[in-house]
Amino acid sequence: MDGLRELTYLEAVREAMSQEMRENEDVFILGEDIGVYGGAFGVTRGMIEEFGPERIRNTPISEAAISGTAVGAALTGMRPILELQFSDFITIAMDNMVNQAAKIRYMYGGKGKVPMVLRTPAGSGTGAAAQHSQSLEAWMAHVPGLKVVQPSTAYDAKGLLKAAIDDDNPVIFYEHKLCYKTKSDVPEEQYSIPLGKANIKREGRDVTIVATAIMVHKALEAAEELEKSGISVEIIDPRTLVPLDTETIIGSVKKTSRLVVVHEAVKRGGFGGEIASIIAESEAFDYLDAPIKRLGGKAVPIPYNPDLEKAAVPGVDDIVLAVKEVLNRS
């Protein structure tokens, strides 16, 4: 049972759900086309055969209905996982998530709770155009009462999803579409990665990059490139935006004196602003030796044209350049 194998991120998400559903009768999944079709990206493929249509529930095409059902089920003691085909459609589920799921436990003084997970693929890179490619995690991170998770690797995805299911509060679980095919070593047995614990994906001395989701991979590539010029990059993946592991980020910036934040979401109003502000307010301020640099998506709807689509979000070259800039070496 304790062997490591290489799994894709997609398989890791599926395994986390299947293992939990075998253990816990209260857990079920609901969403559009998640049954025989296996979901928009195939995450739940094969699950209906094992768990049956009662626990892998196909729903009408209504994110409002899916989220409303999930909130209700959670209040009655179930632990639903709902899948939204594209995170862009969270707008339709927003009232249930923001005004109900996030508030009920608080408003009823803890007499009820909403243990649910909203899983949804986000991000660009698949040619899915403006309505199917956004990264809207900053919206959800803004709402007290919701937890927000953004795993970047298969290993993190499995462990964080277990923690999300176990959590008694609503958790928004963002899966990046381009991460689905990435692979990493994943233990066979169930394990949990605590929400609010960042991961240092690479240790370095000269500059800290805080990156999320697919940008973790791009930052790692940039770090390889920068190493050739003798620049040592530390990469921190917060893994969860809410709660946020500020201690690890502040500690790293104190060490390196320089910070680059990179996410795919539009820079304006993006979560990078939050991280930059935390550093500016923290004890790390006195250690900053260059202005903080944020990299984020351009303030445009994601274009359909593949070249423009790539140009709309930060790439490896942009990260390399930003790092050199904060080191006065551009």
Binding site: S257, F285, D286, D289, N328
Partner: protein
């Protein structure tokens, strides 16, 4: 109003200072930066410069007086100003200064006062450059933090970042390079276009006074002929300072004697194989001399001494330093308790220490605690020399080459392998007769090494 002159607190442990000499008399006019008086603290001697200009109105203390820190020593002001007849005690200004800086009272020293002085001058004095002064300084938070920690005025630091932004590294570089100088010294150096870096400051931590700058103004032959210049630093500087101190504080006397080394050569030949088998190293004359010196010092305790303050310390241990030439200087690793060790151990240890010295691998404890030093130039064509005492030790033995010389023996002239020993000693601590007795004993032991067994 007359300005107080008070005893500065020059270190965190300083309680009182001794007034060594006044450079000005009452009624003399004083400029900012002029040396006023010299004091001695528990650590250093220092000339104190004036921060005010005017007339020296009053001197409350005479030379050799001990004065508590912050107590008023005198007044500078305009002629005819009223000042107290008796010493007013603690300076009000100095105490207030400390109170306002209660954050780090121990740090309140002369340097800090001078830095604030520098700031004042920057703000008011430099009218030609007002624009850059009034503009806010671009510096990163890290640069500001480090500058604050080291009391650096950021406006003096050149920034290498975009638009002249000062980064942490710039402050670090400035800290490394910036010579400490009094405002007046800076002004004079600026007017004379003398680079402060080229001036050797005579103050604490190389601080540059006006006198140092003026010394540079006089043309020296060295600067006219050009030639390669090397900054005195690291081990070179340490050697220079220590040699100068030894030569200027210890009255050196050097005794020489010639030793017939026939028996020592014989002894070495007989032991060479045995010791090489045991240690892997070849026994050399250094170790034989070392062994003999250790044995003789044991009998002549009055050469194994140090002078500390006004006390002579007679050392229990016999720890022998060996001078080793290294690149750009000289190191003296120490063989501890040499009298307790046989030739085999001494050979192994000397070789190891010599290698470590040349590879800069000596640990601090391997260079300290010496009680007597041996300097061997026998590998060169040197017969005798006058070694400089390695303080705080009080004597050093110079070893020359072994050279065949005609010697009178039993009414005939014979060629014998002779070696000169040169013993320098500090005549403050050691007199000629005991030094001569020691050297005679050493000669006997080397000429008849079986005496080592006695």
């Amino acid at each position: 109003m007359a300005k107080e002159i008070f005893m500065p607190k020059l270190s965190s442990t300083m309680e009182v200072g001794t007034l060594l000499q006044w450079f000005k008399n009452e009624g003399d006019s004083v400029e900012v930066g002029d040396p006023l008086f010299e004091i001695m603290t528990d650590k250093i001697n220092i000339e104190v410069e004036s921060y005010e200009e005017g007339i020296l109105l009053k001197k409350y203390f005479a030379e050799e007086d001990e004065i508590p820190i912050n107590h008023v020593i005198g007044y500078i002001g305009e002629a005819g100003e009223h000042i107290p007849e008796a010493p007013p005690g603690e300076s009000v200004a100095a105490v207030q200064d400390i109170l306002s800086d209660s954050r780090q009272p121990a740090m309140h020293d002369l340097e800090e006062i001078e830095i604030s002085e520098t700031t004042t001058i920057n703000e008011t004095g430099d009218t030609g450059n007002e624009n850059s002064q009034s503009e806010k300084i671009r510096a990163t938070p890290a640069a500001r933090r480090v500058a604050k920690e080291h009391n650096i005025v950021l406006s003096e630091v050149p920034g290498t970042g975009p638009k002249g932004r000062i980064h942490q590294k710039d402050v670090g570089d400035f800290l490394q390079s910036a010579p400490k100088a009094t405002p007046l010294a800076k002004k004079v150096a600026g007017a004379e276009r003398i680079d402060l870096h080229t001036i050797n400051g005579s103050g604490p931590q190389g601080k540059i006074y006006r006198a140092d700058v003026e010394k540079m103004r006089q043309p020296s032959t060295a600067s006219e002929t050009g030639g390669r210049r090397m900054k005195m630093e690291g081990i070179r500087k340490v050697v220079a300072e220590r040699m100068l101190q030894s030569k200027t504080t210890a009255p050196h006397v050097t005794l020489t004697t010639e030793v017939d080394m026939s028996e020592a050569i014989h002894l070495r030949k007989q032991l060479l194989g045995t010791i090489e088998k045991q240690t892997g190293f070849r026994l050399s004359y250094t170790e034989i001399v070392l062994k003999a010196v250790a044995a003789c010092l044991k009998r002549h305790r009055n050469l194994n001494v140090s002078l500390e303050g006004n006390e002579i310390i007679f050392h229990e241990e016999i720890n022998l330093g060996i001078a080793v030439a290294v690149e750009n200087g000289l190191l003296v690793p120490v063989v501890k308790e040499a009298d307790q060790k046989g030739l085999s151990d001494l050979t192994a240890e000397c070789k190891r220490l010599g290698t470590a010295a040349r590879n800069s691998n000596l640990k601090p404890q391997e260079m300290s605690g010496g009680t007597f030093t041996i300097s061997n130039l026998g590998m060169y064509a040197i017969d005798a020399f006058t070694p400089v005492i390695n303080q705080p030790e009080s004597a050093i033995l110079g070893v020359g080459r072994i050279n065949e010389k005609p010697v009178g023996r039993n009414g005939a002239i014979e060629l014998r392998p002779m070696m000169v020993l040169s013993l320098s000693f500090d005549h403050r601590v050691i007199d000629g007769a005991p030094a001569a007795a020691f050297l005679t004993n050493l000669k006997e032991v080397l000429e008849q090494p079986f005496k080592l067994l006695v």
